[in-house]
């Protein structure tokens, strides 16, 4: 990994495009109106790397990962995903979104479609896969998340944990190279958190590139390659899980960890 990223970003793109960098953010700033939400974010994620982002609410962590598939637009800096820079170019955005899967806090399943239809929608209309193939893939992923028997039900008939597993399977059906998780367990009842985390752990074990906004510190400890702490729109500290938890450097990190680990 090049060390002069912030000094000469242009060159570094050329050098990293072919290497094993999945996501590269360089000097990214974002404002909501006058409010400065992301401040000079510099971050690169390797292929196969598992990253957990944590921080108090309003620290910009969700905004950060939502910028990666351009659900939010950044106003300054560069974001390069799998060698494609995110600009206003609609084609580029589409390409990137096809490669990046996303799981939302509130699942966002399509309530008027069955589970199976939820899973096949994007393969049919975006990848233009034959229906039989799309359904086969869908069933394969439903089996992976252990709910093949729910295929013909509607999302409203499933429990929260099942819905979130369907949402993960829906993203996997597009064969993404990167998965983004936006607080996937925080809308779930406690007894359902583990079934979702299990799926995420098995995904991680298969080598999927993952960026995960979560407060599940157990998950971070066992799975993450790197933990990032954000506050006030900045990356305050990042480290491997072991040193991050045992020896936080920054005052605010200590304070934050103190608050959440005591619960």
């Amino acid at each position: 990994m090049s060390t002069e990223v912030s000094e000469t970003p242009r060159e570094s793109i050329a050098s990293t495009a072919s290497t094993n960098v999945a996501v590269q953010m360089i000097g990214v700033h974002k404002w909501y109106g006058q409010f400065h939400v992301l401040k000079d974010i510099n971050l690169s994620v390797h292929r196969g790397e598992r990253i957990v982002i944590c921080g108090p609410s309003g620290s910009g962590k969700s905004t950060l990962i939502r910028c990666i598939n351009r659900l939010e637009e950044h106003q300054q800096g560069q974001i390069i995903v799998e060698g494609n820079e995110l600009t206003n170019d609609v084609k580029k955005i589409d390409e990137i979104r096809r490669e990046v899967g996303m799981v939302f806090q509130h699942f966002n399943l399509f309530p008027h479609l069955t589970v199976l239809e939820n899973l096949t929608l994007a393969p049919l209309w975006v990848r233009k896969v034959p229906k039989a193939e799309a359904e086969a893939t869908a069933m394969k992923y439903l089996e992976r998340v252990k709910i093949p028997e729910q295929a013909l039900k509607f999302p409203g008939q499933l429990s929260g944990g099942q819905q979130q597993r369907v949402a993960i399977a829906r993203s996997l059906c597009m064969n993404p190279r990167i998965m983004l998780f936006d607080e996937p367990t925080s809308a779930l009842d406690p007894e359902m958190i583990n079934e979702v985390l299990d799926v995420m752990v098995s995904l991680a074990e298969e080598g999927m590139t993952m960026m995960c906004v979560t407060h599940e510190m157990g998950f971070a400890r066992t799975v993450a390659d790197r933990v990032i702490f954000m506050d006030g729109g900045e990356i305050i500290e990042q480290n491997e899980p072991e040193p991050f938890f045992s020896n936080p450097q920054h005052e605010r990190t200590k304070e934050f960890l103190g608050q959440i680990l005591h619960h």
């Binding site: 990994m1 060390t3 990223v5 912030s6 000097g27 700033h29 404002w31 109106g33 006058q34 409010f35 400065h36 401040k39 000079d40 510099n42 971050l43 690169s44 106003q75 300054q76 206003n88 609609v90 084609k91 790197r226 506050d231 006030g232 729109g233 900045e234 990356i235 305050i236 500290e237 990042q238 480290n239 491997e240 920054h250 005052e251 605010r252």
Partner: protein, 561 residues
């Protein structure tokens, strides 16, 4: 580790200051980019092409510039659509063309409205000749000349102060309920007491030291007293007075007869006393209402005896006469007819005043009826429920026009020989029944929206049905549906125009008749007249809908937090 730590910016972690957003994404430019044209480059290109085409059209085809621009925009829109079909990513003109189109429409709209109402308008025309001097503008002279008639109909001129007082009480009453938490209540009360004195002197100066002068004084004085109460109590007091005493006062002021309302003072006063005061006041009030119901019951018995007497049952006739003799005193005017004003027949009522009378009576009568129907529809007594459902669905299923027709031609048939009531009362009954059905559905919505726990909690407290409804359920349900009630009222208010079908001259009909007068037959008079009516209705309805949306928003936040 070094790998990770290398990725740092210009500031130490946690010290990055809040910076202002880049100029192109904030401020006016940002606003334009966000709300009008997503890309300045595309907008520039499109505007340049559109202007070039316009220039060609103006110079070569001799078109007016705005027409040329319109043609250019539509032409380019077609081109853009074709490009979009072939190469979606190259169709960059869409948003800019939309903006240009909207600008053209806005221009025509503003130019049209300002041109008609101000620039080209005639302000001081005395008749159609004056109006015809500028046929492209409004003829405000028409409104000016007929204004009083549009407001009061044919209400006799010397008596119009009654309508004024009536509408002032209405306005102030509603304003006081809406703006209960208004600032500076005591000073306002003092000003009102001052106004009382001024009004009294003024009335004395006019040579009116009678009921009229007292009334002019009494209105602000009463409001002043109410303002000295704490705000919740004041709201309740004004609400009760407007709901119960105001209808009686309206009848007195508008028709002029005091004698008619005398028997009803007892129950109304009883209800107000019972609702406002403490325990003792409550028993006094209840006693007053009880007395009234006893009198009604006795009167009914008398009437039944009268009927039986007519059928030849012996003896009962004389009993009925006895009842009549005793109760006749109660139902009489108690010698208070001296308080009456000149009687004004309802066929002299008209204009905006009549519109308000119909709308307000409609809402005042439909609210209690609607609540009863809604409770009936949700009751678990099948007979009551079925009757309520049938009643509601019937009135909701037919147009108001047919209801008014029915009121006009069938109500006279319903009544025994010799009993008639006038056209206005027929319309009022029709309107009240019609809107009661709609009101019932609104209230039902509120009852359904209440969590079941509220009903259960009321039961658990040992309240009986009526108490739990009155104390727990209805106050909450009615509060939730205030927006719905206001919306129903807006609909009713607009629908009052239909009473013209049975010969009542409401506001719209009054203006409509006025513009057909041969001395005002100019081409711009109908436009002016309709615009005037539309503006008045619009102000009322839009104002109410803003209020209802305001309440809705307050309720939403109230529910969330």
């Amino acid at each position: 580790m070094s790998d990770i730590q290398a990725e740092v910016g210009a500031y130490d972690p946690g010290t990055h200051p809040d910076l202002p957003p880049p100029p192109a994404t904030a401020g006016i430019l940002g606003w334009i980019k966000h709300n009008l044209v997503p890309s300045f480059e595309h907008a520039g290109i499109t505007a340049a092409i559109a202007i070039a085409i316009t220039a060609v059209l103006v110079f070569a085809a001799d078109m007016a510039p705005l027409v040329g621009l319109t043609v250019a925009v539509f032409g380019l829109a077609i081109v853009n659509a074709i490009i979009k079909a072939i190469a979606p990513d190259r169709a960059i003109m869409g948003q800019t063309l939309l903006t240009l189109f909207a600008m053209i429409v806005f221009y025509f709209l503003l130019a049209g409205v300002i041109g008609f109402t101000i620039i080209d308008a005639v302000w001081d025309a005395k008749d159609k000749v004056g109006c015809a001097t500028s046929p492209d503008g409004a003829c405000w002279g028409f409104i000016g000349a007929r204004f009083e008639q549009f407001m009061y109909g044919f209400f006799p001129e010397p008596e119009r102060w009654r309508v004024d007082l009536w509408s002032i009480i209405l306005t102030v009453g509603i304003a006081a309920i809406i703006f209960t938490d208004g600032p500076r209540r005591q000073p306002t009360a003092l000003v009102l007491f001052g106004a009382t004195v001024v009004l009294y002197v003024w009335q004395l100066g006019l040579g009116n030291p009678d009921v009229r002068a007292v009334l002019w004084m009494a209105a602000p004085a009463a409001l002043g007293v109410l303002l000295l109460l704490p705000s919740e109590q004041m709201r309740k007091a004004i609400g009760l007075l407007m709901l119960l005493a105001y209808p009686l006062a309206s009848f007195w002021l508008l028709s002029g007869s005091f004698g008619f309302i005398v028997p009803f003072i007892l129950p109304v006063a009883g209800l107000i006393i019972a609702s406002l005061g403490g325990d003792r006041a409550r028993s006094v009030g209840t006693l007053m209402m009880g007395l009234f119901f006893l009198i009604i019951a006795l009167s009914l018995v008398g009437a039944i005896f009268g009927l039986l007497g007519n059928w030849g049952v012996p003896l009962v006739d004389s009993i009925a006469d006895g009842f009549d003799a005793v109760l006749g005193i109660y139902w009489g005017d108690w010698g208070l007819d001296g308080l009456s004003f000149t009687y004004v027949e309802t066929d002299k009522w008209g204009g905006l005043m009549l519109t308000l009378v119909v709308a307000i009576t409609g809402i005042a009568a439909s609210l209690p009826l609607g609540v009863l129907l809604a409770l009936g529809r949700r009751s678990n007594m099948p007979v009551v429920k079925t009757m309520c459902v049938m009643f509601i669905e019937f009135w909701r299923g037919v147009p108001l026009i047919t209801v008014l027709f029915m009121a006009s031609v069938m109500f006279p048939l319903f009544l025994p020989e010799g009993v008639t009531f006038n056209q206005l009362l027929r319309a009022l009954i029709g309107v009240a029944l019609f809107s009661a059905a709609y009101m019932a559905e609104v209230v039902r919505g509120g009852l359904q929206a209440l969590p079941k726990g509220q009903f259960e909690a009321a039961d658990a407290l040992g309240l009986n049905y009526f108490k739990s409804m009155r104390l727990i359920v209805l106050p909450q349900a009615l509060k939730i549906v205030i927006p719905g009630i206001v919306n129903t009222f807006i609909g009713l208010f607009k629908d009052t125009t239909l009473v013209a079908i049975i010969g009542l001259i409401d506001f719209l009909a009054q203006v409509d008749t006025g513009m057909r007068d041969s001395s005002w037959l100019a081409p711009n008079v109908p436009y002016t007249g309709y615009l005037f009516v539309a503006a008045v209705f619009w102000i009322f309805c839009y104002g109410m809908s803003r209020y209802s949306r305001g309440v809705e928003r307050r309720l939403e936040t109230g529910h969330k937090r």
